[in-house]
């Protein structure tokens, strides 16, 4: 009853003083000087993800058992969660608010579970038909190219995908060993992407050699170059050429292709990146005693932390602060290697301390095989003539992939230099989005980014400290004996245990706190949201204070 009961005469009054109406006529909202309102913010994991996966959202959907929607949420930004869930360096987890409280959410493992579910349920992937009047060429079937092709095809634009190798996958196929990413899984991922829309694949075609970039520019309305870094950089030391010394990438390519390899009794791997770790662990699995030699210290190693730890556990040895100086040969046969002792000097442009030689100090090591993994470079044959390059990398806009040529876009390692799978996926998607904007003539949506939530915004009273749920794995002893996948993935119980740990920073996950604690019964609980009834909200702000995840904000009335 919104109307106040008023007695005009005593005859209208009940015999006894009793209630005849409720208090809803009393609009206590007029008492309020500060207004609470629902204001969803950005979770820091999303900010940390190079391809901006809506991590908070898909974890919340997992907690509600809505797996298909969760998977779709990832697919909006990343077409291959089964890959990134295995090989990503997960900067999302370094950004996770929970990491400042106890341990970060194991986002990587949750992503992998969803990615695997997507592979088991091919029906989840919507099939796009060719509806667009423009067509695009994508050069390179690695993560950047597959991502770009996927998002273009999803929008209905026919894509022709050119790949030098016989099979798609790029670095995922020939660069990442099977114990991290099994070929069978990769095959399914690639198939799902190719089957998702109008994508024509041309393997065994090297753009720049077999077909000119100019020709692609003429035939297609847009060209994306995602050619990656397919060449090992040489060490530039005496004795490098000859038997026993091999680029790490070529070794990995053989291993991943199932070729028989012989890394000798004692192998030395030079470098500190992920390629070095992969080479070392593959050589170890092929029966060799392996030492990784790096010119800085473990702290500066660019490899993923877990990979370094795994390599160490499996028995790979490390020698730090040593740079190759000379490879020793006896009658052409590899005899050993001499390293220059280094020390850390001033930080360089990458922010890492630069190694400088310690005069007169060298180390000599015996070796049957030496693998160089000091970096890769792009194979720009036939490309560098057509597009502008710098430092042997393609010059392209970071946000859109646009090169100096109107129709040509580029992204991934060939633009950034050695980076990561997820960054290549992001670059492919962003280029696809830019190409689609050009095709449709639509402008970029200029929505403002919401504020990001930090640990100080979380009401930790509502969370007890818990440990991160580690992904189950096979024991190190067994892992190092073969190429079988090391991590075996969560089961449903583990997946929920970990997903339930998520703070859901800045985004409501229907915990009911605001509704429970409102003294004025001014919060309405609807099917999919809460609503504040400002007719009665007195502005006590208990809801804002007791929201565990800062999904509400305040504003002074009249301002």
């Amino acid at each position: 009853m919104i109307k106040k009961v008023e007695f005009k005469t005593y005859r209208e009054m009940p015999i006894r003083p009793m209630t005849v109406g409720d208090m809803l006529w009393n609009l206590t909202g007029s008492w309020r000087n500060v207004r609470p309102y629902y204001d969803f913010k950005r979770s820091p994991c999303i900010v940390g993800c190079p391809t901006s996966e809506n991590i908070q959202r898909y974890i919340q959907l997992v907690t509600e058992n809505r797996y298909e929607e969760a998977w779709r949420t990832i697919i909006d930004n990343n077409p291959m969660p089964a890959v990134t869930g295995r090989v990503c360096f997960h900067p999302c987890m370094s950004n996770c608010t929970r990491g400042e409280y106890d341990e970060p959410i194991n986002i990587n493992a949750i992503e992998r579970s969803l990615g695997d579910m997507g592979l088991e349920n091919p029906g989840w992937m919507a099939k796009a038909k060719a509806t667009g009047d423009k067509k695009a060429a994508v050069v390179g079937g690695g993560p950047a190219g597959l991502s770009c092709a996927f998002y273009l095809a999803r929008a209905g634009y026919p894509v022709t995908l050119f790949e030098t190798d016989g099979a798609l996958g790029g670095v995922l196929r020939w660069g990442i060993p099977e114990y991290r990413l099994p070929n069978g899984t990769l095959d399914k991922v690639v198939k799902a992407i190719i089957d998702s829309g109008p994508i024509t694949v041309k393997t065994g075609v090297k753009v720049g050699r077999d077909i000119g970039l100019d020709k692609l520019e003429k035939e297609f309305d847009a060209v994306f170059l995602g050619i990656g870094l397919a060449r090992s950089r040489s060490m530039d030391v005496d004795g490098e050429d000859g038997e026993g010394v091999e680029p790490g990438l070529s070794f990995l390519r053989k291993v991943n292709g199932g070729e028989k390899v012989d890394p000798g009794k004692k192998a030395i791997v030079i470098g500190g990146g992920n390629t070095a770790m992969d080479v070392a662990r593959c050589a170890l699995r092929s029966g060799s005693d392996v030492t990784v030699v790096y010119r800085r210290t473990v702290n500066e190693m660019p490899a993923i932390r877990e990979e370094i730890e795994e390599a160490e556990k499996e028995g790979v040895k490390f020698e730090f602060l040593a740079a190759p100086k000379e490879i020793l040969r006896k009658k052409g046969k590899l005899a050993g290697i001499v390293f220059q002792r280094m020390e850390l000097g001033q930080p360089d442009e990458s922010g890492r301390r630069k190694p400088v030689a310690v005069e007169g100090e060298t180390i000599r090591m015996e070796a049957d095989r030496i693998y160089s993994a000091i970096g890769e470079q792009a194979d720009l044959e036939g490309i560098s003539e057509a597009v502008e390059t710098e430092w042997n990398l393609i010059k392209a806009d970071e946000a859109t992939g646009q090169t100096g040529r109107k129709k040509v876009f580029a992204g991934g390692d060939a633009v950034t230099g050695a980076a990561s799978v997820v960054e290549a996926i992001a670059a492919g998607r962003k280029a696809a989005e830019k190409i689609i904007r050009i095709f449709t003539g639509r402008a970029e949506s200029g929505e403002a980014e919401p504020a990001t939530v930090g640990i100080d915004d979380i009401n930790t009273d509502y969370f007890s400290k818990t440990r991160q749920t580690k992904m189950p794995r096979i024991p190190v002893g067994r892992a190092r004996e073969g190429f079988g996948e090391i991590h075996t993935g969560y089961d449903a119980a583990l997946l929920h245990r970990e997903a339930d740990r998520c703070f859901s920073c800045g985004v409501c996950n229907y915990c009911d706190n605001c509704w429970v604690f409102c003294p004025d019964v001014a919060i309405m609980r609807h099917e999919n949201e809460y609503e504040i009834n400002y007719d009665y909200c007195k502005g006590c702000l208990v809801c804002v204070q007791e929201c565990p995840r800062n999904a509400l904000s305040t504003r002074e009335e009249g301002k």
Binding site: V5, G21, D22, L24, N26, D461, D512, P519, D520, H526
Partner: protein, 300 residues
């Protein structure tokens, strides 16, 4: 959306006259959700006599008997007897009084009803002073607190009355403490109380932002810190005063965090707060010792 974490039916509506962030109001809403519509209330003079609404209105969709300060328990006894005389044995009668009307003014009638073991739930919403009449001290006001009758120059030196032990001495079937910060615990206790026949006493800690000189948004936070600082242990006494269970599964917090947020304690020095902390810790230890002692008596 997930299933609701408490019953969605609202027996208490908006538009009431409570201050911003009122703990007593939250407590009422929770209690009514736990009891459901087959409930009649008795409310003596206290904040809730006003919060409810002005004649002829009420924000509560249930029969309420407004009564004199000292008579909540005896009116509840009478109401229950009257209902039973008319053949209604189902309706729950709940007396709902503040700490002044329980610890001080209503003590004799409560003691009488408890001794007779009359069948009703008595809830004391404890905001630790006579808030409705202007923040005068009650025997529930904690040591160290400012009130209008214990100004900072002469703040309250006497400890809070131990009402729980007084009620336990009456051998009633169920006694519990609760806090507005733990609504599900409170609702469980109300529902549990309703399963016993006889007098049930529940005392819920209900912050009063106005009387405590506290920012209203910190109302629930204070109710939580009172428990985690051991100032206000959550406990249940069953088997007619013979079994005691104390809730211990929380991360302890320092008392200073609780006291320093409230204006009513602002005049206290760190040394005085440390003294209070020592007393609280000793009381907590005694409570746990009592719990162990009662548990160790054979045949219980």
């Amino acid at each position: 959306m997930k299933p609701a974490t408490m019953p969605t039916e609202e027996l208490m509506g908006s538009g009431h006259l409570a201050c911003q962030g009122c703990g007593a109001t939250q407590a009422m809403r929770f209690a009514l959700k736990a009891l459901g519509p087959d409930t009649a209330l008795v409310i003596p003079a206290c904040c809730w006599a006003v919060i409810d609404g002005s004649f002829p209105h009420s924000c509560i969709d249930l029969p309420i008997y407004h009564t004199a300060f000292e008579t909540a328990a005896v009116v509840a006894s009478g109401l229950k007897a009257g209902l039973e005389m008319r053949g209604d044995t189902k309706t729950t009668v709940m007396a709902w009084a503040g700490d002044g009307g329980t610890f001080d003014i209503g003590l004799q009638s409560l003691s009488g009803a408890a001794e007779r073991n009359d069948d009703f739930i008595y809830v004391c919403y404890d905001n630790e002073a006579y808030m409705n009449t202007g923040i005068q001290r009650s025997s529930s006001t904690p040591v160290g607190a400012w009130t209008t009758t214990t100004p900072v120059t002469n703040y309250k030196r006497e400890p809070k009355k131990n009402m729980i032990d007084i009620m336990a001495a009456h051998s009633i079937p169920y006694i519990a403490t609760a806090s507005t910060a733990y609504p599900h615990d409170f609702m469980r206790k109300i529902a549990k109380a309703n399963t016993f026949r006889g007098t049930k006493y529940i005392q819920i800690f209900a912050p009063c932002p106005t009387g405590w000189k506290l920012a209203p948004e910190l109302s629930v936070k204070m109710a939580r810190l009172a428990v985690t600082s051991k100032m206000y242990p959550l406990l249940e006494i069953t088997d007619h005063g013979q079994k005691l269970e104390v809730w211990k599964d929380f991360e302890p917090t320092p008392i200073a965090e609780y006291m320093k947020a409230q204006g009513r304690f602002r005049h206290l020095s760190d040394a005085e707060i440390a003294g209070i902390e020592k007393d609280v810790e000793a009381k907590w230890e005694r409570l746990l010792a009592k719990e162990r002692m009662l548990a160790s008596i054979p045949g219980l």
